[in-house]
């Protein structure tokens, strides 16, 4: 908490004080935020709360608890695991004579994540970074395109990391939780949060939303609880006004969706496709706020929208458009047509070899020369 929020808190106090008089000169401590601190502190917190509630017996062996928190595949960027899920597996790992030898599912998951991250996310990142660093110069269509690319980038980056983490853990005989379930195909915002960063949203549900009263204390209180929970969720992502606004925006979306579902849905039903498109549009707009560096970027967005022809037209490269199309087709076909994930495990013989070669070739052709750090490492 201290590491992450001290600078932001001093800034907020300074901003508030400047409303009444001269801005006080606070100097925040120069600390480098430890990577992954939000993830492992949440794991530790959930463990202590579960023990306090009597839902979990405390772990007797420090070494096993140590592994639960510091398990390196998920240490830096999740999934945020519950002790009840991991500790029994750690105990089995300690007792087992031999590890399971089938590495194929583990390699398959890792490779899938690697392609998402190294090919797709890193390629999209080049265009997104270019536009977001020159936001005052570029035209509104460019900003919209970059927001669209960032929508894909953050998904590829984060779900790619999760796939890699799950693959690595499986190679050691540990099964981590699924964190993403095709979130951009959600038909409403509540469904989106059940599919996006599942372990974080269930954490907030179980340790913040429900203790606040959930939906049991009347309608007005439910809306308030949703707002508070999402505000905290925004703050969890980062100590900046943009993240607070992003959290509040999602709280508002959840409240609007709840109102619609309870009061209007029967009288005013919307077609499924329209619901999906509206959800994706609202989520993408939220990603702009999430990616913005400062509050002034949000003002700039509105100005550019009102004067959308002005500004520099920076187009994405053909390869980036091609990759975006490939990714959308891949995910769409998998989720809507195949109804299962494409994987090495389901193929046999020459098909498996050919698939592995194709993935290797894809990596070789499209992987950018330099590695980009995972977006969620900053949290």
């Amino acid at each position: 908490m201290f590491f992450k929020y001290q600078e932001f808190l001093l800034g907020v106090i300074g901003d508030l004080a400047s409303l009444w008089g001269p801005r006080p000169a606070f100097s925040a401590l120069e600390v480098v935020l430890p990577v992954g601190i939000s993830f492992y502190s949440f794991q530790a917190l959930s463990y202590v709360v579960d023990v306090y509630r009597g839902e979990l017996a405390p772990c007797r062996r420090l070494s096993q608890f140590f592994l639960y928190i510091s398990f390196f595949p998920q240490l830096i960027a999740g999934p945020i695991e519950r002790a009840g899920h991991i500790l029994p597996q750690v105990e089995r790992l300690a007792r087992r004579q031999r590890l399971p030898v089938d590495l194929l599912p583990a390699c398959d998951l890792f490779l899938r994540g690697l392609v998402k991250k190294a090919v797709f996310a890193d390629s999209f990142a080049r265009y997104v970074d270019l536009v977001f660093t020159r936001l005052d110069e570029v035209s509104f269509p460019c900003i919209l395109a970059a927001t669209g690319f960032f929508t894909l980038q953050i998904y590829c980056d984060f779900s790619g990391y999760t796939d890699m983490a799950r693959g690595l853990a499986r190679a050691m005989g540990v099964e981590l939780s699924i964190n993403f379930d095709y979130p951009y195909l959600a038909r409403n915002i509540a469904q989106f949060w059940r599919r996006w960063h599942v372990t974080l949203s269930t954490w907030f549900r179980d340790y913040v939303y429900i203790p606040l009263g959930g939906s049991r204390r009347g309608e007005a209180r439910t809306y308030l609880n949703l707002m508070l929970t999402m505000l905290l969720c925004g703050l969890w992502h980062g100590a900046a006004y943009t993240f607070v606004i992003w959290g509040a925006y999602h709280g508002l979306l959840l409240a609007v969706h709840r109102f619609y579902a309870l009061r209007l849905a029967r009288r005013l039903p919307l077609p499924r496709l329209l619901c999906g498109a509206l959800t994706l549009g609202a989520v993408s707009l939220g990603w702009f706020v999430f990616r913005a560096r400062e509050l002034s970027d949000l003002v700039l967005f509105v100005h550019k929208a009102l004067d959308w022809r002005e500004g520099l037209r920076l187009g994405a490269a053909t390869s980036q458009w091609f990759l975006a199309l490939v990714f959308v087709a891949w995910q769409g076909l998998e989720a809507l047509w195949w109804k299962r994930r494409w994987s090495l495990v389901e193929l046999a013989g020459w098909r498996r070899a050919a698939f592995a070669c194709a993935v290797g070739l894809f990596l070789f052709l499209f992987k950018p020369a330099s590695d980009v750090v995972f977006i969620y490492f900053q949290f």
């Binding site: 509630r53 549900r205 429900i210």
Partner: protein, 94 residues
């Protein structure tokens, strides 16, 4: 250390081989790997990680042992713990 770096693959291979083909204690091996992985960003981070682990481990043991009130104030704050009961959980957002 990134999952996409060559040094990571090298260390991972060494770890997997050690886990499979040696009789070294597995939990200790994976714990050591965790510290190396985290320490690669900045060795000082490991101190914070160990501090978080020790605090959570011993607070939970003390909480389970009975001295709930004082420790809870230290480790969590009261708000997380007021109206929590598994029987009243709702299953979804909104």
């Amino acid at each position: 250390m990134l999952f996409t770096s060559y040094i990571f693959y090298l260390l991972l291979l060494a770890l997997l081989l050690a886990l499979r083909y040696t009789r070294l204690p597995r939990v200790a091996l994976v714990n050591a790997a965790g510290l190396v992985f985290y320490g690669a960003w900045n060795p000082a981070y490991c101190l914070l990680l160990v501090f978080v682990i020790l605090t959570a481990h011993y607070s939970a043991r003390l909480l389970a042992g009975g001295s709930r009130r004082g420790l809870l104030a230290v480790s969590l704050g009261r708000c997380c713990c007021r109206c929590c009961s598994s029987s009243t959980r709702s299953s979804s957002w909104g």
